[in-house]
Amino acid sequence: MTLVKETPPVAPPADAAPARRRRPAVLRWTALRLVALAVLLAAWQAIVAAGVWPRVLVPSPAEVWSAFVEASTVHDGVRGYSGYLLGEHLAVSLRRIGIGTGYAALTGIPLGLLIGVVKPVAVVLEPAVTFLRTLPPLAYLSLLVIWFGIDESPKIWLLVVAALPPIAAATAAAVRGVPGDLVEAARTLGSGPVTLLLSVRLPAALPEILTGVRIGLGVAYTSVVAAETVNGVPGIGGMIRDAQRYNQTDVVIAGIIAIGLSGILLDALFRGLERVTVPWRGRR
């Protein structure tokens, strides 16, 4: 006599390996995103069609698309927008973002290491970093223009100043958070202070440092329009400024979308890079 009724096993078929089960999930999420996008576009179109706001303020998706195409092509002898293709504007801005973040990392990481390891340096420089971090880039743009003119250097400087504080802060926090037992183990193996810093604390902190650089990159991204306020063409920020001056809302929106999309792409690339370069993230 059995009290528990036998239920037939409902195990998945043996060949349903995890790798094969994941693809449908990815497809499902992608489909969900596409649906959300379609709903957004439809809502946008509906608002435009209802005429809630004047066309000049809210152009239709089709108008933004044609602004996008016009800015990306040579038409009637005119090259893109303000004499440069959208891709060229974007490339110039990306180059500035890259150089700015690069310099910020080159200075911010050593600075963060110092702040994290040398107490007197932290006492002096940590408030300075926090101060810089709270300033909106437009606040120091004027100063940079006075000091460095209106060419390339004030733009790069602005991006460096914007990206450096998060990188330095993340690096300092990361080296402070290095597990003491690993440092101790290295010490018992005969490591001096320099080895401890460069061969133990630095690699142990690297995953979080890279996260800091990614955040710095994001800050540079959001600051590029500010950096290109003055004499910003070519540059995606300069393009948006020009379009604003002539009330070309469709070009402004196309520019914003271009910045956002390239930002998502770059962030994804950087995350991939992190996975490859610091596979020990979260491992012990």
């Binding site: 037992d181 690993l182 101790e184 183990a185 290295a186 010490r187 018992t188 193996l189 005969g190 490591s191 080895t195 061969s199 133990v200 690699p203 142990a204 690297l206 610091v278 596979p279 020990w280 491992r283 012990r284």
Partner: protein
């Protein structure tokens, strides 16, 4: 160096933790001498200061009173492996070799040698987190050995391992110490482990931490000793029971 000169000598050391206003005395007036080639085991209840004594010898703590003399190079194996996850298994060993001044070109061969010694041949390229707990602890032992310490300090190195792995590693450490003549200071909770490995066992008691008793282990120490037979030996069982009784008495007192 004359054999009479000890490798480790602690004289009346006291160690305090915490703020000077309200200190915790972890070890009070402990004295201990370890001669070259000895295998000394510290046993005692939790919190009696075993780790503290070991850290003192390793130079990781400073005594509030008393003197610490350590005459030769030490290597430490902690309770957890403490491997560097950003380096491979081989990389962890290379790190130690580099600190010991081994030239870059000679490191791969030494790494292979060390890995064979701890029973992990061919594992140099693996990531540390791909290894089991027992394998990681073996790498930690190999890493400590890479600096060619004349004194090996081991703090409950097998406590987190399963019985099977523990017995294997106990045997390996016993053989290693006997064949190389390395001086060992070893911390454990287990009377069985203490009697199996030690040539001398020091019993500690808590409140404050101090050394209260000492026992010499008159069992064969040669590298070729059959440890399986030893575990079944009635003398071994008697010693283990005696040590357990001494430890219990020390804890009760």
């Amino acid at each position: 160096m004359s054999p009479a000169e000890p490798d480790i000598r602690l004289r009346d050391v006291t160690v305090r933790y915490g703020p000077p206003r309200n200190p915790v005395t972890a070890v009070a007036d402990a004295s201990l001498t370890v001669r070259p080639g000895e295998f000394v085991v510290l046993v005692g209840p939790s919190g009696c200061g075993k780790t503290t004594l070991l850290r003192l010898v390793a130079g990781l703590e400073q005594p509030a009173a008393g003197t610490v003399e350590v005459r030769r190079a030490t290597g430490v194996v902690f309770q957890t492996p403490r491997l560097f996850p950003w380096r491979t298994v081989g990389g962890n060993l290379s790190f130690a070799l580099a600190r010991n001044g081994v030239a870059r070109a000679e490191r791969p061969a030494r790494v292979a040698e060390l890995l064979s010694l701890v029973g992990l041949p061919g594992m140099a390229g693996r990531r540390t987190w791909e290894l089991s707990g027992g394998q990681q602890q073996r790498v930690a032992i190999a890493r400590a050995l890479a600096t060619e310490p004349q004194i090996l300090l081991m703090d409950e190195p097998f406590a987190a391992l399963d019985a099977f792995t523990r017995e294997r590693l106990q045997e390996e450490v016993r053989t290693l110490a006997a064949s190389t003549g390395t001086t060992v200071l070893f911390v454990t909770h287990s009377a069985e482990e203490a009697v199996l490995l030690g040539s001398r066992v020091l019993v500690m008691a808590a409140g404050p931490g101090r050394i209260v008793d000492e026992m010499t282990v008159p069992l064969p120490r040669a590298a070729a000793t059959d440890t399986a037979a030893l575990r079944g030996d009635p003398r071994f069982a008697a010693l283990r029971a005696e040590l357990a009784a001494v430890t219990r008495a020390a804890t009760a007192a």
